[in-house]
């Protein structure tokens, strides 16, 4: 099937070249980092995780959100998702690829990365995260490819795929839960030390992922003759609506606990985010953009606007995705380090090479996504493949 990715329009190839350029720049910057060490990033003794791990955290959510299609389609027989479930699974694959790359570029000694498996350490959450992420990637590759291959021949997918599909549902939940546990179990990091971290992660993931999928589906409709169907889009829209509302609610819960308890350590991080702490306020503007974008998008989704026109829906989805990207892909990780265990505030901002490496990884993810989508859509549109849809 892969040959389908090798033919396409001019626009298709220009896009691929555009991505390759970014991958190239990112790779060059990575070589620089590899030689010099992580000292070329904006990270420090006090803020020891930065942009890379934040992207990783956000993208695990996007990967997990595929379950929002798989679950209704396979468990509740929501037929309208039949056409796009594969798009969700392929989005998951691209996201996990990015996650793994982001972890790889973040470690100080990449040549030793395999030590995680060579010396399995069950008490370390990172060991489990490594495990569940890789298995999730494998699951989605197996499922996606086999379902698509079957569709091409107009036969039912092989029997052994079914149990894998069912397994992938709790597995998706597990990848984001385990990722939340990376943060939620650390003493003295008040901002992360919250029992609702995992549900907060799932809430925001189930909003951001499907919002992105809506955007992708509408884009695909424009670029090709493949139409996911308005009904599927509408259903996704409902998922995004409830998930973003839950997500906002969870943040309010955190604010209540922090400020009603009045415990300084719990308040500091939120003060840093919303107003700045002792004159340090690098992320205040970002936080408010995220808050306003998130709330406005939720409003648009709740009012009949987004139901009447897809233009509003697109705006709301961009708002949701952007808002949650700021929350998880930018502020959540950094704020955990404010203030440091010794009550110092060291601010963090990614450096240019750091940003280019991150862009390179994103470009790689988009390349994987583009190729997979190209294959999936070619199969679906091919008059010779007896596609059922």
């Amino acid at each position: 099937m892969f040959e389908k990715a090798l033919s396409g329009t001019k626009t298709y190839f220009s896009w691929i070249i555009f991505l390759l350029i970014f991958i190239g720049i990112g790779f060059a910057c990575y070589l620089y980092q590899y030689n010099e060490g992580l000292g070329i990033t904006g990270m420090s003794r006090d803020v020891s995780w930065g942009f890379y791990i934040a992207q990783f955290t956000f993208l695990v959510g996007v990967a997990a959100s595929a379950v929002m299609l798989v679950l209704p389609y396979y468990l509740h027989d929501v037929k309208v998702f039949g056409k796009i479930t594969i798009l969700g699974e392929f989005l998951a694959i691209a996201s996990v690829v990015m996650c793994i790359l982001f972890v790889t570029v973040d470690v100080g000694y990449p040549n030793r990365l395999l030590n995680i498996i060579l010396y399995p350490t069950p008490n370390s959450i990172l060991f489990w995260d490594f495990l569940v992420l890789n298995i999730y990637l494998l699951l989605n590759l197996l499922i996606g490819w086999n379902v698509l291959a079957a569709e091409r021949k107009a036969v039912a997918p092989p029997q052994w795929v079914k149990p894998l599909i069912y397994l992938s549902i709790p597995w998706a939940i597990s990848i984001h839960t385990v990722t939340a546990f990376l943060y939620a179990g650390m003493p003295s990091r008040h901002f992360w030390l919250t029992a609702i971290m995992a549900v907060r992660f799932l809430g925001s993931a189930f909003a951001a992922g499907p919002a992105f999928l809506i955007l992708l589906a509408l884009l695909v409709k424009r670029l090709s003759t493949f139409d996911a169907g308005q009904e599927a889009i509408n259903k996704l829209r409902n998922i995004v609506t409830y998930a973003i509302l839950a997500s906002i609610f969870f943040v309010l819960l955190e604010l209540f606990t922090a400020f009603y308890s009045n415990i300084p350590g719990h308040k500091h991080a939120f003060q840093y985010l919303f107003f700045g702490l002792e004159g340090h306020n690098k992320y205040v503007a970002w936080t408010w953009i995220s808050v306003v974008a998130g709330c406005l998008s939720a409003l648009i989704l709740l009012l009949p606007l987004a139901r009447k026109s897809n233009a509003w829906l697109v705006a709301a989805c961009i708002g949701v995705f952007g808002s949650l990207w700021i929350e998880k892909g930018l502020t959540l990780v950094v704020t955990g380090f404010m203030p440091s265990p010794l009550e110092h505030i060291t601010e963090y901002a990614p450096t240019l090479p750091e940003i280019f490496i991150a862009l390179g990884v994103w470009a790689t993810g988009f390349l994987v996504l583009t190729l997979l989508y190209k294959i999936a859509i070619s199969v679906k549109l091919d008059p010779n493949s007896a596609s059922i849809h």
Binding site: R45, G108, R112, P187, S340, P341, L342
Partner: protein
């Protein structure tokens, strides 16, 4: 200690060769040392700990002597960029070392005082719990160790340590070393984490940690499990505090105030 143990044994050995006999050498060189020898030798403790008598640190030089001794012994690089510094033992103000104890009416002497801070070699260390490769591990004698060759540089342990005791080699540390380096201790490479190791390499030889040795008796090192140890005596006779005790990590560095 006026002379360190190794030196002492060497002199004692020479003295016995001269026919004075080991015991006589002890009496000449170090009166009272024979009782001290009745304690378990330094290399065999069950739970190493450090007691820092903060009252004995008067001038900035008192701190610096200890810090320099450590840095020299372990080839700790002097990184110019403070954001990416390597610190094994350093000073902090009271409110930073003990942030949970926020009392605006602290005696002046406390409020502006510096405290030496270092890895606490916690009894229940979160850094060990989170490390995915066992590069950070706890020895049976309580020392929390780093295996520089195992570490992948994920910096999970830095997020996990609630005392800011760990440093990461953001760049090649060898570039920041002043010659001559101590050939008996390895230098590190970029991309790995490091921290205070309670001078395990010295303890193995029966020597006291470098900082304690340089402290003129302000820092005491010993076995908490031994009821007759000096550290136990100090803790029995003085009021001591520990950093962030509410977290349950059970730090093994005590501060007499």
């Amino acid at each position: 200690m006026g002379i360190n143990r190794r030196e002492f044994l060497r002199i004692a050995g020479i003295a016995s060769l001269w026919g004075l006999g080991g015991q006589a050498a002890f009496e000449i060189l170090k009166p009272g040392a024979i009782e001290a020898q009745a304690r378990a030798p330094l290399s065999q403790g069950k739970k190493w700990s450090m007691v820092i008598d903060t009252r004995k640190f008067k001038t900035p030089e008192d701190f610096q002597r200890c810090i320099d001794a450590c840095n020299k012994t372990h080839n700790v690089p002097k990184v110019a960029n403070v954001r990416q510094e390597i610190k094994w033992i350093w000073t902090e103000k009271y409110e930073n070392a003990f942030p949970d104890d926020q009392n605006q009416f602290l005696p002046e002497s406390m409020a502006h005082k510096s405290f030496l801070v270092l890895c606490n070699h916690c009894t229940d260390p979160p850094c060990v719990r989170v490390c995915p490769t066992q590069a950070t591990f706890k020895r049976p004698d309580g020392i929390v160790m780093m295996d520089y060759h195992r570490c992948i540089g994920c910096r999970f342990c830095m997020a996990g340590c609630p005392y800011g005791a760990r440093s990461f080699n953001w760049r090649d540390p060898r570039k920041f070393l002043k010659e001559p380096t101590n050939p008996e201790y390895p230098t590190r490479s970029k991309g790995v984490v490091e921290k205070c190791n309670f001078c395990e390499e010295r303890i193995a030889k029966g020597l006291y940690p470098a900082c304690a040795e340089a402290s003129n008796g302000a820092m005491t090192f010993g076995d908490l499990d031994n009821p007759n140890s000096e550290v136990r005596k100090l803790l029995k006779e003085n009021y001591s505090i520990r950093r962030k005790p509410s977290l349950g990590t059970q730090p093994n560095v005590y501060f007499l105030v």
